[in-house]
Amino acid sequence: MTAQDVGTGDGSGAGPVETDAVVIGAGPVSLFAVFELGLVDIKAHVIDILDKPGGQCAELYPEKPIYDIPGLTVVTGQELTDRLMAQIKPFGATFHLGERVDELKRLADGRFLLRTDKAREFVTKVVVIAAGGGSFTPKRPPLEGVEAFEGISVHYSVRRMEDLRGKDILIVGGGDSALDWTLNLAPLARSLTLLHRRDEFRGAPHSVEKMRALAAEGRIRLLIGQVTALHGAGGQLEAVTVKVKDGEERLAVNAMLPFFGLTMKLGPVADWGLNLHENLIPVDTEKFETSEKGIFAIGDINWYPGKLKLILSGFHEAALMAQQAHKYVYPGKKLLFQYTTSSTSLQKKLGVR
């Protein structure tokens, strides 16, 4: 099969990216997988939905201490990420951040075709799913019937600002997303209300200042309270009920942007034809391979008897996965087991010799 047979890739006309390995996820275990694959001469492309490497370590607890990484008495999520990025530098992995792998299928020649939500395509010999708890997706406020409004008048991200021109917009939240969109959309909205549960904001101080200035000028309304109900029909929001300090208020709005952070959902992984066990991917404990040959699952997303969701377990899984991946990428080639301490060839790959 030639590249032309499998589509046009990122639309640049260059066709899909052809590679040995695609690692799905860019958390610590993914990063260490790049290292282990690199030691056995397998180059990898890494794809992650977040706009930065590190996965949960970078998104959920960049500043929190981790005490169970062997050899490091204490390390923060961000520092571990930075250290891993430095450690894998010699292997020149290509990162595709802010992208989600939507499709994965096997081609007639045994390789795999992956397609992201940005229509980028990859053809690869092995796939390593190291997607942790799944993909980070915006939290949906648990309001009755919210699903019906999503994509029509309730939006968790803004794709085209123009679509919101002239609307009566309600933005909910107190972080940077809520503040940034308040500042960006205020000039083109018919009216804009920023609703937050308390009169304190987590966002960048200068954004808070700008927002307060707009509120003082009467160009936006800052309301302290919480949404309790949505009203409208056919997906079109007409009003919301807001619980405020001394009672309730009905607010006429036709667009709502809730920003309540991110949560992890298994997402498209569920549609790739792999066996699943309670939203996890069962693997063997020799190769950490899934029910499909050539597709591996390592880190928090896999399951086997005795599994512990620890970063260090994921590191071990990455090392064993790479041994089997080598068999698929270099069929027939013998893999000599070597130590980085003494092997000239490994040290050359690491750029220390």
Binding site: Y61, K139, P142, G174, H196, R202, Q226
Partner: protein, 106 residues
């Protein structure tokens, strides 16, 4: 051991025994209290162990830290008595603590 009562939105209550030193979230998870999800495992990095502390106990459990307040922004139906129970350490003083589980965690 300290006794902690978890009251569900439907009024059902469950009393669990907690060893001083664990968090109220850990006590809930160890005893399979419904409605306490604790997605992040107690890192104060989500808001899925949200509870309402009974008025009589609010003083003894104290106020949320700034970090916890920030994280409470991600909880649903936050009230004056809202806490993330992974941030409440069980002490002998909290023997008899009563908390209510909210109708929904995010």
């Amino acid at each position: 051991m300290a006794k902690i009562t978890f009251i569900q939105p439907d009024g059902a209550s469950q009393v669990v025994e907690a060893e001083p030193g664990v968090t109220v979230m850990e006590a809930a998870k160890l005893n399979n209290v419904p409605g306490i999800e604790a997605e992040c495992g107690g890192a104060c990095a989500c808001a899925t162990c949200h509870v309402y502390v009974d008025q009589a106990w609010r003083e003894r459990t104290g106020k949320p830290s700034e970090m916890e307040e920030d994280m409470l922004d991600f909880a649903f139906d936050v009230r004056e008595e809202s806490r993330l129970c992974c941030q409440i350490k069980v002490t002998a003083e909290l023997d008899g603590l009563i908390v209510r589980v909210p109708g929904k965690q995010f």
